[in-house]
Amino acid sequence: MRQFRMMSESWWIEHGEYEPLHQLNLLRVPLVRDVMINYRESLPQNERDNILTYTNEKKEKKLYTKEELEREPLLGLNIIDIGCGGGLFSEPLARLGAQVTSIDACKENIIAAQMRVQSQQEKLGVENCKFYDRLRYINCTVEDLVAVEENFNYFDAIVCSEVVEHVNNLNEFISNSVKLLKNQGFAFYTTINRTPDSYLSTIFAAENILRLVPKGTHSWEKFVKPEELKEILAKNEVSTKFEMGMMYNLLTKNWCWTEYKRNNYALYAQKFQTNIK
């Protein structure tokens, strides 16, 4: 937790220290977008209409039109970004139409994320970045949210990117967070595998040699193998649908999908609750 405080100011500089996270958006945002469009389309008619209904200023009930959905494909979907940091992942999702609740246990990060919103609104004019209305940053933990039962089964998707490798009790963290997920909803994770390869690249090279991230950002022991993550998810009735390696090219500063999963990887899973209370 502590090391993030020092970094919270610099989240939004595109070519700054968080460049890899900015660039990662080019993989993870389209992934979430496409999976969630499919999810919406595969829902039974009445549930889909439910999602696509909104109340306009005149208090009339309306359905989002095809054109609106083409522009903002995630309209009507509730997404929670757990461990949102400076909001790098949350913002594009909100821009694509999703109603995004972003939480982080670190107050400084939430403030950094809020600062970003405020400074954009100041610079561009509130009316020119209306999508921020769909984005809410809250300084709290998953435990805070699951303490209130109304929050259960609320979200269509959980995104949790580059977070689980920092979590102390992963079992509890996952089982709590998937409570927030609707049945049939999707959970997306990106993280780092625990392999000798990742030790070399993430700890040794990134922290010591290249100094990409400050020392102590990661501790290798906490890294999570995809098998472990899948197993925990399965225990919570969330079944993994996709996993794929991700590779960062230090020269071009680009990420690409790869079969090689020994470093970074992404995974998504769908909740199938058997006995719904």
Partner: protein, 653 residues
């Protein structure tokens, strides 16, 4: 250096400050909010100077609650369950719960756990503030909050609500302070000292006029800029973005079909036509007029080598349309879109690129802020120069003379004719069965003469140029092969080059139509320009502003339209990826895709011109294509693949 700014604001005074000197508290609050903060268009606030006026105050009732790790959560009375009232005696809010039969008073006790929803967040920048605070612990009188408030300023406050039926993302919290809470002072007018922190810190110019925001600004409304604006404007994906176009020229919506075609015309390629159809402009053009090119004859002035092209699919090779008509067809559609605004007869005076935006200043002193500036302001691009992009450029020692010519015999006219002369290429483009358009690139000194002679003399010279023997090379028959190969080069530089088939059946050389008379003559100096970068931070260039070529292949505006297609595509991806418009990744992608297409074509066209035109290289006047080939051709061939292949074949013979 420093200026005084009068501001007006609403100040919240928390209940635990109520026993303090009001003026001091307000001062503190104002400093907290503004000191050391940059206020847009005002600059950095240094310190509070004086308070001029304090308006009426009102009390904002509500409840302060706490999460175990976070205390600054305020639930205004309006967000409590309704109806609620404040009980003066108990100093508590009471929810008057109506069961239908009777009304129960439900107390919200201090220390009680409630659930609330976050409805808003407020935060104050707490980084180093100006004046020292009068900080006593006794101001934190209210018991339950005292220990948690060692820092008097709170950078972040959550506004909560417990009055919503469908409560989502609820948090559980403890009630900590339960009285009429924040006092709100409306309309305190005060002066703040601010320093002007805008980069070029020049005194006197500290006040910037109110600025407008557009997500995308297109600078230059020529054919390429207007097509760009229209392509974005008509695309549903961009409907939520505000788009502006700025042009120095007045609005050019109308086209009045002058009896004789204007001499400025373009040969449009099939992919350009696709674009014009997509943006809904092509119909307007076909309602008026255009010339059709079914085939094309290209031959050489010094030998009998020639080549004919026609399109494999049997459709047009190109369409000849007046520039005015293209412009009108685009401009008239621009007003159809609510999210597109055009500033005609205006101009960008200066601009400032930074990480997050580009700030523009227009001729009329208006300021515009944008996320992406697209420069389409032509060959002399102000935007490109201002952005300091490196260019490769030179002037050809040639001028293009253009005119609309009347043919001696009315009849089918679907062939474009082009002949390479030692003084430069001459081309005749079909407009209709009576008229053709002339583009004659010729050495500057000769051009001067051609522009000064009478119309009838000029017509005579044009006719002559298409038939008269140019010069005979004495290098034997090998040259014909070479010329043939050179003509094959045309394939590489022509639009849809690969779909073209050379028309080898046409073994008899046809002659171009005879010209009877000519319209007004225009002339344009010719130059080559290519920018090594098409994009920089929050800026993309399209059209002649990044690449200007010799008109011999009739490619200039088509390359520009190609830029439009490509940039439009990249920006679509940009929007659909949820990233802010104008993100670097997508600009770079445009640049990479485009340069790969454009650069080889440009070098090819340039080589072609040089191959056939006499050049004066350091005194030695080189007469024959072969020698020219050895000197320039070979150096270029190392950079361009198609050329290299051709020359390699030649060497093997």
């Amino acid at each position: 250096m420093y200026i005084l700014a009068e501001m007006k604001d609403v100040v919240h005074v928390k209940p635990w400050y109520f026993d303090q000197d009001l003026l001091n508290v307000i001062e503190d609050e104002l400093n907290k909010k503004f000191a050391n903060k940059i206020i847009y268009q005002l600059g950095l606030c240094v310190a509070l100077f004086d308070i001029k006026d304090i308006g009426d105050s009102s009390v904002l009732p509500g409840v302060y609650v706490s999460l175990s790790f976070f205390d600054d959560i305020f639930i205004p009375a309006s967000n409590l369950q309704k109806p609620s009232r404040f009980d003066e005696k108990e100093q508590l809010f009471i929810w008057q719960y109506d069961t239908g039969e009777s009304v129960h008073d439900l107390y919200i006790d201090i220390g009680e756990e409630i659930r609330f929803r976050v409805v808003n967040e407020i935060f104050v920048d707490t980084t180093p503030t100006g004046p020292p605070k009068k900080n006593d612990s006794n101001i934190l009188g209210t018991s339950s909050v005292a220990q948690s408030k060692e820092e008097t300023k709170c950078p972040y406050t959550i506004i909560g609500s417990i009055n919503e039926p469908a409560m989502i993302t609820l948090l559980r919290c403890k009630v900590i302070n339960h009285r009429n809470v924040t006092k709100v002072l409306t309309c305190s007018k005060y002066n703040f000292t601010t320093s002007n922190c805008v980069r070029n810190e020049s005194e006197g110019e500290s006040v910037i006029k109110k600025s407008d925001y557009y997500d995308i600004v297109v600078c230059g409304g020529g054919m390429v800029g207007a097509a760009m604006t229209l392509a974005l404007g008509q695309d549903n994906i961009f409907k939520n973005l505000k788009i502006a176009m700025i042009d120095t020229a007045p609005e050019k919506k109308d086209y009045d079909s002058p009896e004789i075609h204007n001499y400025r015309v373009c040969a449009l390629s099939p992919s350009t036509i696709e674009l014009l159809k997509r943006v809904g402009s092509w119909d307007f053009i076909t309602q008026h007029r255009h010339g059709d090119v079914h085939n094309m004859h290209v031959w050489d002035g010094s030998s009998d080598a020639f080549i004919s092209f026609k399109n494999e699919e049997g459709s047009n090779l190109a369409w000849i349309v007046e520039n005015d008509l293209i412009l009108a067809s685009l401009n008239r559609n621009l007003s159809n879109f609510d999210n597109v605004k055009v500033f005609y007869s205006n101009k960008i005076q200066s601009f400032d690129q930074n990480e997050q935006s580009v700030d523009l200043k227009l001729k009329d002193d208006c300021s515009i802020r944008t996320k992406l500036l697209i420069g389409s302001d032509g060959g002399e691009s102000f935007i490109r120069k201002q952005a300091n992009l490196d260019v490769t450029k030179w002037d050809y020692d040639q001028t293009a003379i253009v005119s609309t010519l009347k043919l001696a015999n009315k009849g089918p006219n679907f062939t474009a004719w082009q002949r390479f002369l030692s003084t430069g290429p001459i081309a005749l483009l079909p407009l209709n069965d009576e008229y053709s358009s002339l583009v004659w690139s010729i050495k500057k000194n000769l051009a001067k003469e051609l522009l000064s002679i009478s119309d009838s003399e000029f017509v005579h010279r044009v006719n002559e140029a298409f038939v008269k023997e140019d010069f005979k090379s004495d290098l034997g028959t090998g040259i014909e092969n070479l010329v043939q190969n050179g003509l094959d080069l045309m394939r590489n530089v022509l639009p849809n080059g690969n779909n073209l088939i050379s028309d080898h059946e046409t073994t008899v050389r046809l002659l171009p139509p005879k010209i009877e008379s000519c319209g007004p003559r225009g002339s344009f100096p010719l130059s080559f320009l290519h920018s090594s970068n098409y994009v920089t931070k929050r800026l993309a260039l399209i059209g002649d502003s990044v690449h200007k070529i010799h008109p011999l292949a009739g490619q200039g505006v088509n390359l520009g339209f190609g830029d439009v297609i490509s940039l439009h595509e990249c920006l679509r991806e940009n929007v659909l990826s949820g990233t802010e418009i104008g993100s670097w990744h997508f600009l770079k992608q445009y640049e990479a895709r485009r340069q790969r297409e454009v650069f080889p074509k440009m070098v090819g066209i340039d080589a072609l011109n040089k191959l056939y035109t006499d050049y004066d290289y350091g005194g030695a006047f080189i007469k024959t294509p072969l020698v020219a080939l050895r000197t320039i051709g070979l150096t270029i061939s190392n950079r361009v693949l198609p050329l290299k292949n051709i020359f390699a074949q030649q060497a093997m013979k």
